[in-house]
C-alpha cells in the first residue's frame, strides 16, 4: 500500500484529507507541524508527502528543503496560496508538484499516481547517453557528471531522460508536461522551475547552459 504523509496544520483539513486518501486506498498519516512531519519521515519514510505552505514554526518551504536534503520522495504542495511567487519558490525548494486548495481528491489522487509512474524507471534498453561530461544511464537510473554521480529527484530524472531521448530536438513545455508529469493541460511553470533546478545540477555554468538550452517561445532541448 502506498503511504502518504500529510503535513497540514489545520486539524479539520488534515483529518478530512487522511479520511479521503484512505478511502482512495492509500495508507495515510498526518503531521501538524513541519518538525513532526520531518521526524515521521525519518522514522518511517512515506512514498509521497503532501505539504501545506503556511505552517507554524518551520514553514512549508523550509520543510520541503529539509525533506529534499535526505531523499527524493515525491513532494506535492497543497496550499491555498496561488501567487506565482509562492508556486515558483515551493518548486525551487524541491517540490515536484503544486496544487491549489481546494483540490478534488480525484485530482490529487491522479497527481500522486502520475508521480509514482514517474518514479518507475523506464527500462527501454536505451544505452547510456553522453552529453559532454554528462552521462545519463536510464537503465541504471543514474546521472553522472565528470564521472561523479549527480543526485536528481525522480521528476528531474524523468525530465532529463525525456530530453535525452529526443536529444537535439526541441520539446515544448506542453509536450514535457504531458510526457513527464502526465498532464494534458497544466502549469508551464512546473517545467521551467524543474529545468532550472536540473541546470543547477548538470551545467558547469547554469546561467549560460551548454547542454540544456532554452529555445524562446518553443521549449527546451538537450544537446551535446
Amino acid at each position: 500500500m502506498t503511504a502518504v504523509l500529510v503535513i497540514e496544520d489545520d486539524d479539520r483539513i488534515r483529518l478530512a484529507l487522511l479520511l479521503a486518501l484512505e478511502e482512495e486506498g492509500y495508507s495515510a498519516y498526518g503531521a501538524a507541524t513541519a518538525e513532526e512531519g520531518l521526524r515521521r519521515q525519518r522514522e518511517s519514510p512515506a512514498d509521497n508527502v503532501l505539504v501545506d505552505l503556511m505552517l507554524p514554526g518551520l514553514d512549508g518551504f523550509e520543510c520541503i528543503r529539509q525533506l529534499r536534503r535526505d531523499d527524493d520522495v515525491p513532494i506535492v504542495v497543497v496550499s491555498a496560496r496561488d501567487d506565482t511567487h509562492d508556486i515558483v519558490a515551493a518548486l525551487e525548494a524541491g517540490a515536484d508538484d503544486y496544487v491549489v486548495k481546494p483540490v478534488a481528491i480525484k485530482e490529487l489522487s491522479a497527481r500522486l499516481r502520475a508521480l509514482r509512474r514517474r518514479g518507475r524507471v523506464v527500462v527501454d534498453a536505451v544505452p547510456a547517453q553522453v552529453f559532454g561530461d554528462l552521462e545519463i544511464s536510464a537503465e541504471a537510473g543514474e546521472v553522472r557528471r565528470a564521472g561523479r554521480p549527480v543526485a536528481v529527484t525522480r521528476t528531474e530524472f524523468r525530465l532529463l531522460c525525456e530530453l535525452a531521448e529526443h536529444a537535439g530536438r526541441v520539446l515544448s513545455r506542453q509536450q514535457l508536461l504531458r510526457r513527464v508529469w502526465g498532464y494534458e493541460t497544466g502549469d508551464e511553470r512546473l517545467v521551467d522551475v524543474h529545468v532550472g533546478r536540473l541546470r543547477q545540477k548538470i551545467e558547469p555554468d547554469p546561467a549560460n547552459p551548454r547542454h540544456l538550452v532554452t529555445l524562446r517561445g518553443l521549449g527546451y532541448k538537450l544537446q551535446r
Binding site: 483539513i13 478530512a16 479520511l19 496561488d82 515544448s172 506542453q174 494534458e184
Partner: protein, 449 residues
C-alpha cells in the same frame, strides 16, 4: 447654443484686442498724415495764390488791361484754376468756375481786404479755395484741386486698414499659439484619463515645474491614486474572500469524497443527501476558482508563442471530447502570440458552456484573419436568443437555455471569464449567427507573430 471652446475664446479675445489696438494706431496715424499733408498743400497753395495775385495785379496795372490774357499768362498748371473778381464781374479761364464757386461769406471777407482759405467742393471735387484781396479790385481767387491728395489719403487709409487686419490676424495666431501651450496640460490630463480608462492604472501626470500647473497635476495624480487604491481594495477583497473560502472548502471536498465513496454503505436517503453535498461542494469549488480567476483578469495578458491548435486538442481531451472537433482554417498558422493560460481557459470554458447548455460542441475552429485570432466554438443546442447575446457574458447571468435546465452545475462566471480574457488581449467575445445551434466567437487581436 454651444459655448465656444476655451481656445477659440482666447483666440478671439487676442484678435479683437489686436484689431482695436491696430485700429487706434491706424486712425491716429491717418489723421496725423492727413493733417500734415493738407497743411503742406495749403501753404503751397497760398504761396502760389499770392504770387499769381501779384502777377495779375501787375497785369491789371497796364493801361488797357486784357483780363483774359492776363489770366492766361498765369503759369498755374492744370491743378490750379484762377478766378478773378473784378468790379465789373467774374473772370475765369474756363466756364466751369465762377461766382458760384466762392461762398458769399468768403467773398465778403476778401473784398474787405482779408485773405482767406477754405476747403470747398466744386463739381463734387474736393478743392482748396484761396482768396487774396486785390488792391482796387474785389479779389483774386485760386481753386486748387485736392483730388490727388484725397487719392493719397485713400491709399494710405487702405494700407492702414490692411495692416490693422493683418495685425488682428497675427493677434489671433498668437492667441492660438499661446493657448496651445496653456491648453497642453489639459491635453495631457485628457490623454492620461483616456489611458487610465483603458486600464493602464500606472498612468500619472508628470509633476511640472510650473507652479500654476503643479496643483492640477498633483490633485489629478492624487485622484488616480485614490481610485486605483479603491479598485485594488475591491479586487483584493474579492480575492481574499475567495481565498478564505479555500481552506474550509478543502475539508468539505475531502469529506464529501469520502461520503461519495461510501455510498453503498448508506441508506437511500443518506446517499441522496451525501450526493447533493458532494455536487454542491464541487460547484462551490468551481465558483471560488472562477471568482479568483476573475479577480485576476485585470492584469495584462502575457503573450507568448502558443500552439493554439495543440491547446485546443488538449482541452478537448481534458473534457473527454474527440480531438477531431478541432479544425484549423486553411493557411492559418497553428502558433499564435497569445496568453497561453487565458486562451486555455477560454477554450475550456467555451467547451463546458457547449456541453452544459448547447448539447455538446460540434466544432472548434481556429482562424487567423488579418492578424486577429478568431476562435469559434459551435454547439448543437437551441442557440442563444438575440436579446440574451450581450448579457450572457455578464457575471452570474445564465441564458434562458440555462434556466430551462434545472440543476445545472455551472457557476455563471464561465462566459464572463471568456469575455475578460478576450478583453485582456484587446479583443472581445460574442455570439454570432449560425443556421442552428450557437456559435461562440472570440477574437484575439495581435495573434499573428
Amino acid at each position: 447654443m454651444t459655448r465656444l471652446g476655451l481656445r477659440a475664446r482666447v483666440t478671439a479675445a487676442f484678435a479683437v484686442g489686436a484689431l482695436l489696438l491696430a485700429a487706434v494706431m491706424a486712425l491716429f496715424s491717418y489723421d496725423l498724415t492727413r493733417r500734415s499733408l493738407l497743411d503742406e498743400r495749403e501753404r503751397t497753395a497760398v504761396r502760389a495764390a499770392y504770387y499769381d495775385a501779384a502777377v495779375v495785379r501787375s497785369g491789371l496795372d497796364t493801361g488797357t488791361p486784357d483780363v483774359v490774357a492776363v489770366l492766361r499768362s498765369l503759369d498755374t498748371g492744370s491743378s490750379r484754376r484762377p478766378l478773378l473778381h473784378l468790379r465789373d464781374g467774374w473772370y475765369a479761364r474756363t466756364a466751369d468756375v465762377g461766382a458760384g464757386s466762392v461762398p458769399v461769406e468768403l467773398q465778403r471777407m476778401v473784398a474787405a481786404g482779408q485773405p482767406a482759405v477754405q476747403r470747398v467742393r466744386v463739381d463734387g471735387q474736393p478743392t482748396l479755395l484761396v482768396g487774396v484781396p486785390l488792391a482796387g479790385e474785389l479779389g483774386y481767387y485760386e481753386l486748387t484741386s485736392l483730388r490727388e491728395v484725397e487719392e493719397t489719403f485713400q491709399v494710405i487709409g487702405l494700407a492702414l486698414t490692411a495692416v490693422a487686419i493683418m495685425v488682428a490676424g497675427a493677434g489671433a495666431a498668437l492667441g492660438w499659439y499661446a493657448t496651445r501651450h496653456s491648453v497642453r496640460p489639459l491635453t495631457a490630463v485628457a490623454d492620461a484619463a483616456e489611458r487610465i480608462a483603458a486600464g493602464d492604472f500606472a498612468t500619472r501626470l508628470d509633476p511640472t515645474t510650473d507652479p500654476d500647473l503643479t496643483r492640477l497635476s498633483t490633485s489629478f495624480n492624487h485622484m488616480v491614486d485614490q481610485v486605483v487604491r479603491r479598485i485594488e481594495r475591491d479586487r483584493r477583497f474579492a480575492a481574499d474572500v475567495s481565498h478564505e473560502l479555500r481552506s474550509p472548502l478543502q475539508t468539505l471536498a475531502a469529506a464529501a469524497s469520502v461520503l461519495t465513496r461510501r455510498r453503498e454503505h448508506q441508506d437511500e436517503r443518506t446517499a441522496t443527501a451525501a450526493g447533493l453535498v458532494a455536487d454542491e461542494v464541487a460547484r462551490f469549488q468551481r465558483l471560488v476558482d472562477d471568482l479568483i480567476q476573475l479577480a485576476r483578469t485585470e492584469q495584462p495578458a502575457h503573450r507568448d508563442t502558443v500552439d493554439v491548435a495543440g491547446l485546443a486538442r488538449a482541452a478537448c481531451r481534458e473534457r473527454s471530447l474527440p480531438e477531431s472537433l478541432v479544425e484549423v482554417a486553411e493557411g492559418t498558422l497553428a502558433r499564435w502570440r497569445v496568453d497561453r493560460r487565458r486562451v486555455e481557459q477560454i477554450l475550456l470554458n467555451l467547451l463546458d458552456n457547449a456541453v452544459r447548455y448547447g448539447g455538446g460542441p460540434v466544432a472548434v475552429r481556429l482562424e487567423l484573419r488579418d492578424g486577429i485570432g478568431v476562435l469559434d466554438v459551435d454547439d448543437d443546442g437551441p442557440g442563444v436568443p438575440e436579446a440574451d447575446r450581450e448579457v450572457i457574458f455578464d457575471r452570474f447571468v445564465r441564458g434562458r437555455a440555462a434556466h430551462a435546465r434545472a440543476g445545472t452545475d455551472g457557476t455563471g462566471l464561465g462566459l464572463a471569464l471568456v469575455a475578460q480574457h478576450a478583453a485582456a488581449h484587446g479583443g472581445h467575445a460574442a455570439v454570432v449567427d449560425r443556421d442552428r445551434g450557437a456559435r461562440f466567437r472570440v477574437e484575439l487581436p495581435g495573434a499573428a507573430g
